[in-house]
């Protein structure tokens, strides 16, 4: 008969456990996996049918109007595109904002809520890699969303045999604008989404932030005389309140796009261009740094 003292002697038995001895794929592979998984998650791929509905609805909402525009141009026999590439982005950009608001929390908040972030960080991928991978996923997803309609528009212009050189130049302006939007939106969206494990709160905060700053910028611009009969140039500085309008103003000034409307966004002068560019860079870098900081302690 065994006494309790004998049975608790603390012997470790060799039960034939074998550690993994195969090749280890390492940090870079882990980061790439995170990126691919994030990009797929942004479109709901590999998830239930329900979570695919919204991303693809927004995707369709961004691409379908281009088809309509091309059809109108072809049937009405217009001599040029009714909408410039950069204009298209500012008209339908709100759909990309909704996409960001809906999907940034999918990338960030869910990992926080289920406490899996420490599990990621226990692998070779570091906190910098994690944030970089998520940022790259969101950026790529937004780029897909924003550039595809531009390419369709370009294709339509070519089919209607509009001048190639001019269209190519304007397509490039549109692509630059798309890159700026995607960079700034991803940085802002992920920073906000990473701050809260509650998906709903993240969605409302991102969308509310973008919408309210945009409305605020218009009102401040109106207050400073931007919409009077002789618009004051200094009122354009109000655009800096809103990230979206800042990009629009910068692009319109640098490339001379945006039509001849008196109420279009426009960076005031060379100083304006420099300040607007600096604000965009600072906002993007600042939000990215904030996201990075948030993961210092999980």
């Amino acid at each position: 008969m065994t006494t309790p003292a004998q049975s608790h002697r603390g012997v470790i038995h060799d039960i034939g456990y074998r550690p993994y001895t195969g090749p280890r794929l390492g940090r870079r592979y882990a980061t790439r996996s995170l990126y691919v998984q994030g990009l797929r998650a942004a479109f709901g791929l590999g998830r239930s049918g329900k979570s695919k509905v919204l991303p693809f609805l927004l995707f369709g909402g961004l691409v379908l109007p281009t088809m309509a525009i091309i059809a109108i141009v072809a049937f009405a026999g217009l001599k040029q595109m009714p909408m410039d590439y950069t204009e298209y982005l500012s008209y339908f950009g709100v759909l990309a904002q909704i996409f960001l608001a809906a999907q940034a929390p999918v990338l960030m908040s869910r990992d926080l809520r289920h406490h899996v972030v420490p599990l990621y960080f226990s692998r070779p991928a570091s906190r910098g890699d994690y944030v970089a991978a998520k940022f790259a996923s969101m950026f790529s997803a937004l780029m897909i969303l924003l550039t595809l309609p531009l390419l369709v528009l370009f294709l339509g212009a070519m089919l209607n045999s509009f001048p190639f050189g001019e269209n190519l130049a304007h397509l490039c302006y549109g692509l630059v604008a798309a890159v700026l939007y995607a960079l700034l939106y991803s940085a802002l969206g992920l920073a906000i989404a990473a701050a809260t494990p509650r998906r709903g709160f993240g969605v409302a905060a991102i969308m509310g932030g973008l919408m309210i700053t945009s409305g605020l910028a218009q009102i401040v611009r109106g207050l400073t005389g931007g919409f009077s009969s002789v618009p004051s140039e200094s009122s354009h500085w109000a655009e800096l309140i809103s990230p979206t309008r800042t990009i629009e103003g910068l692009v319109n000034k640098v490339f001379g796009t945006g039509g001849d409307n008196f109420d279009k966004m426009l960076a005031p002068g060379t100083t304006g261009v420099l300040v607007y560019a600096a604000v965009i860079v600072l906002l993007t870098a600042g939000s990215y740094a904030l996201t990075l900081r948030r993961y210092r302690n999980v």
Binding site: R47, S48, K50, S51, L54, V94, I98, A101, A102, R110, R113, H114, R198, R199, G200, F201, V203, A204, A205, M207, G208, M211, I212, G215, L216, I219, V220, G222, L223, G225, S228
Partner: protein
């Protein structure tokens, strides 16, 4: 009403410094009103763009969205609603209590600041401030009830609410006349028109229609939310 549920709901909505983020919105409205007060532009036009477009058109839907879905959708999403549902409380009581908190929050965060902003900007003249305050009050109530229903019905409540507020009310409502009849924002505006002096505010929807639609929307949404909560099935994360 159940005070314990109300207290817990309010803590979920405002707790952990969330109140500070929520308060940023009304504070901003007041700051804008103070700046606009010293502007040389026509005050009535300013009042319409600040109280009408910014407050009633943007802040109220966003606040209603956050409070309406915040009181119930977050709990459903993280599954903690089961602890509440397993208590011997009628489901309609849970819905009305949570709705009361949401409505109170939207009044505090949207209607009261709108009234103050109106007073700062325009004073009591023409009943503009009071009119917009009433408009945001009722619109906030209706938005809270509708968005609470959305929170019970769908997991994508915030997105669905945003789609309604942005795409239906702003985008389609701007171009299609008929869409305005089915817009909470326009119903609120009708009440604003009823309070304000003649000719100061224009509203596309008649007062009687607006009042009836408001009542139907708010009561109907609350009733439907109660029914839906009675048969709620909890889904896992998608």
């Amino acid at each position: 009403m159940n005070t314990t549920v109300a207290r817990l709901t309010a803590r979920g909505l405002f707790g952990r410094r969330r109140i500070l983020i929520l308060l940023a919105v009304p504070v901003m409205l007041l700051v804008i009103a103070v700046i606009a007060r010293n502007s040389a532009i026509d005050k009535l036009e300013l009042a319409h763009s600040i109280l009408g477009s910014l407050a009633l058109g943007t802040l109220v839907p966003i606040t209603g969205l956050i409070t309406g879905t915040g009181v119930i959708a977050t709990e459903i999403e993280d599954g903690s609603i089961v602890y509440l549902l397993s208590k011997p409380l009628p489901r309609w009581k849970i819905v009305t209590t949570k709705l009361a908190v949401a409505v109170g929050a939207s009044w505090l965060l949207a209607a009261l600041p709108t009234y103050l902003a109106g007073l700062i900007l325009y004073g009591t003249a023409d009943g503009i401030a009071a009119g917009y305050a009433l408009g945001t009050l009722v619109a906030g109530t209706a938005y809270s009830a509708l968005f609470l229903l959305l929170g019970v019905v769908t997991r994508h409540a915030v997105i669905a609410g945003l789609a309604y507020a942005l795409i239906w009310e702003s985008l389609i409502g701007n171009y299609v006349e008929g869409a305005r009849t089915l817009s909470v924002q326009q119903w609120g505006l009708s009440l604003t028109k009823a309070i304000a002096a003649d000719g100061a505010v224009t509203a596309p929807v008649g007062l009687t229609t607006a009042v009836w639609l408001l009542i139907v929307a708010a009561v109907g949404a609350t009733a439907l939310a109660s029914v839906k909560l009675s048969g709620l099935t909890l889904n896992g994360e998608e």
